[in-house]
């Protein structure tokens, strides 16, 4: 057992550090620390810089454009990214559909779509959830009916983040009615310029435009855009279960950014003349979060070490997601506390508002969805109980 990096890994760290020093504008910092996504054009620019360096898809296999890094290198890349105040890469193409395309897609689909994901020429959004199908995704009702060389899509998708900027959407739709609800579902790749797609913004409590309803009205999708086989789309999600460990790990590695924000705010604010961070009650709350973050970071390190040795890490990705969302919520709540009465100054009515404040509050609001999306905390508990504990 040891926690050391090899000389080669340390050299790699220098290389990564130098890249981030050059490619992360300072004006991203306040939003990144609050755990908020940057604007799409900023994320696209960042992704293009990574792609130019050959690091566009850190976790992909080399044959599809990945850098062929070890888990330790992935950890170093993410932790240096976090240290430098860089954002997490936008994941819908890279982590949600890319791996399904390279695992189950035809050669034609791989050639057409994988480079666009890495180079950020395409922006993908996810058409999974529906008004009546959230955690119970298998109850989805959108249909895809074969008509000659096309599938014709009809239905409504919900919580489709960034549909307003996406060039493409991956959609789960029912191609046949089967006794088992998970059967008869197919995965289709849809060009967002196809006639029949309408997008309606969903207002969210964080006052940030992220997500949408998407209405599909006789949307014609070429049959070549079916991923894998008809009726087996549900199964393809399984590849993501294994990969989500990487996604969860990356987000968890970025948690110290939020704590840096809390610390800075608490150091800057005085209460009765004393910096808030030096008051025992606040210091104890912050320390509690920091030690839990250290536990989470170590869980991630073990997860990555297991990946490297090919050991089955069980549902530890779910555990990481549970712990991360909890800590992110508590950290942003503490951050709000650190702002004291100024937390009420969310938006300036005249001119510029106090720096940082809107983002910390927006982060605190946004954090509420992190224990709901991507499998709610309750669903994660169910997964762990079933897969790890045999209950």
């Amino acid at each position: 057992m040891d926690l050391e990096f090899t000389p080669a890994e340390l050299a790699f760290r220098e290389e990564v550090r130098a890249f981030f020093a050059e490619n992360v504008p300072a004006e991203w910092l306040t939003r990144v620390r609050a755990g908020l996504r940057l604007e799409p054009q900023e994320l696209i620019a960042y992704q293009k810089a990574l792609a130019a360096r050959g690091w566009g898809a850190p976790t992909w296999p080399v044959e599809y454009g990945g850098p062929g890094w070890s888990p330790a290198q992935n950890y170093i890349f993410e932790s240096e990214s976090a240290r430098a105040g860089a954002p997490i890469q936008f994941h819908q193409g890279l982590e949600l559909i890319g791996p399904i395309i390279f695992t189950y897609g035809s050669q034609e689909l791989k050639d057409r779509y994988l480079p666009g994901i890495i180079n950020a020429d395409d922006w993908w959004c996810q058409g999974y959830s529906e008004p009546g199908a959230g955690s119970d995704l298998a109850s989805l009702r959108t249909t895809a009916v074969r008509d000659g060389d096309h599938y014709v899509l009809n239905g409504q998708k919900m919580w489709t983040s960034y549909a307003q900027v996406a060039s493409h959407m991956f959609v789960l739709a029912r191609t046949s009615q089967e006794p088992k609800r998970q059967q008869g579902i197919s995965l289709l790749l849809v060009d967002m310029t196809t006639p029949g797609i309408a997008i309606r913004k969903i207002e969210t409590m964080d006052e940030k435009y992220t997500t949408n309803e998407v209405f599909l009205d006789d949307v014609r999708v070429p049959v070549g855009n079916l991923v894998g086989e008809e009726g087996r789309g549900w199964e393809y999600g399984k590849v993501l279960l294994d990969r989500e460990r990487m996604v969860c790990s990356a987000t968890a590695i970025h948690l110290p950014q939020v704590l840096d924000g809390v610390r800075e705010a608490a150091a800057a604010r005085k209460v009765r003349g004393v910096p808030l961070i030096e008051t025992p009650a606040f210091a104890a709350q912050l320390a509690q979060l920091e030690i839990e973050a250290m536990a989470l970071e170590t869980m991630v390190l073990r997860l990555l070490a297991d990946l490297a040795s090919g050991a089955d890490s069980g549902p530890r990705g779910s555990m990481v997601k549970l712990r991360w969302s909890d800590l992110y919520q508590r950290a942003t709540a503490l951050w709000i506390d650190a702002h004291g009465p100024e937390a009420a100054h969310f938006r300036a009515l005249d001119g510029e508002g106090p720096a940082d404040m809107p983002y910390a509050m927006q982060g605190a609001l946004y954090s509420r969805v992190t224990s709901i999306y991507g499998g709610s905390s309750e669903i994660q508990h169910n997964i762990i109980a079933r897969r790890a504990l045999g209950l």
């Binding site: 030690i291 839990e292 250290m294 170590t298 390190l301 045999g390």
Partner: protein
């Protein structure tokens, strides 16, 4: 970066598990505890035979020079089977304290290693909390160069059966100064030393010491012992973290087994979602604790500020996780969880004691903040 035991460490862990299973079987625990002295003596003799008592002792002192990870491999098994012997105090903490000692210290280490003597460390005093620098036990040097100690030590972890005590005493400076703390070795039967012994709820045996002009042997340099004491205690803490993890692991396994087999309302109670989710939270707490146990143990060689930060963070969090798992294990077992016949309640009692040994979560949270 690697979190695997070596083959030798895996054998050590297996053999610790086997010893616990053989000598401290959970099904007979209450009955076995009736003859605690015999059980403890038998355990100690086997540990000596297996070489574990000399495992952490440096090779220069006739020990095996085992690493903190070796100790961890032993301690998980001790925790899993709640083997209540003073291994950490006698075989881990005291050898770490006596590393710089002279001839007598070397003799004591030899006796500890072969199992003919036990030792414990008195480091805490009234009004000082868990602060190791709060030392009021007075050390006076006579013109002939002989040291005598007067005062008291509030709590000696696992000191109930010790033949020797290592204690901090103040040879200079004020009550909480880092400078002026010295380390001394005294025999348990030294004239002027009063030893009050106590049993705790987890069967561990502790002591409280009173000194009136007790002659003692100085270990290492006078006035300059605090840094070594802190490092030694951090090593003891890491051994306890591994024990806590072993105990949590056993408490969780026992609880899962119970959830699968216990029937109420015509079904296994593990089919109830509220109980499933509780069990998942226990599993996550164990995962956190295990991760931090590894991290802290692997950080013992770091420079003092970073070591303190990691060890205290781990001690605080593992304590919280251990109490959570212990309490929920009792809760999910219902009435039988409260009974003393089932080992589950014993795991909770050990977790309660481990949380406070060498500093509570609150103490270590404050130490973590101070180390930043």
């Amino acid at each position: 970066m690697n979190f695997e035991y070596s083959d030798e460490q895996r054998m050590l862990a297996d053999s610790a598990d086997r010893l616990g299973k053989d000598l401290w079987p959970s099904s007979d625990r209450l009955k076995l505890l009736e003859n605690f002295d015999g059980l403890a003596a038998q355990t100690w003799a086997q540990m000596a035979e297996l070489g574990w008592l000399m495992l952490p002792i440096a090779e220069d002192h006739g020990g095996l020079g085992g690493s903190p990870v070796d100790v961890m491999a032993v301690m998980e098994g001790m925790g899993r089977h709640l083997v209540a012997v003073p291994y950490v105090a006698s075989a881990v903490l005291v050898p770490a304290l006596l590393g710089n000692g002279g001839d007598t210290a070397a003799e004591v280490l030899g006796a500890i290693g072969e199992g003919s003597a036990k030792a414990a460390a008195g480091l805490l005093e009234p009004d000082g909390g868990y602060d190791l620098s709060w030392v009021g036990l007075s050390a006076q040097r006579s013109s002939g160069g002989e040291w005598t100690l007067s005062g008291e030590k509030l709590h000696v972890e696992d000191g109930g059966d010790a033949d020797w005590f290592v204690v901090t005493a103040r040879s200079g400076g004020g009550i909480s100064d880092a400078e002026g703390v010295s380390l001394f070795l005294v025999r348990a039967d030294a004239p002027g030393l009063s030893v009050r012994r106590f049993r705790a709820i987890d069967q561990h045996r502790h002591a409280r010491l009173g000194f009136s002009g007790v002659t003692a042997i100085l270990i290492g340099e006078a006035d300059d012992a605090l840094a070594d004491v802190e490092l030694a205690v951090d090593k003891a803490i890491c051994a306890h973290l591994a024990e806590a993890v072993g105990s949590m692991d056993a408490a969780l396994s026992g609880t899962l087994e119970y959830l699968r087999t216990r029937k109420q309302f015509g079904v296994a109670i593990g089919s109830f979602q509220s109980l499933q989710h509780r069990a998942v939270d226990m599993a996550i707490a164990l995962e956190e604790a295990r991760s931090l146990s590894y991290r802290a143990t692997l950080s013992l060689g770091l420079p003092a500020p970073e070591r303190r930060r990691v060890v205290s963070a781990s001690k605080a969090r593992v304590g919280q996780c251990g109490l959570y798992v212990g309490r929920q294990a009792v809760q999910l077992h219902g009435g039988v969880g409260f009974s003393d016949e089932l080992i589950i309640s014993h795991h909770l009692k050990r977790q309660m004691m481990l949380e406070s040994a060498y500093g509570s979560a609150e103490h270590h949270l404050a130490r973590f903040v101070a180390a930043a």
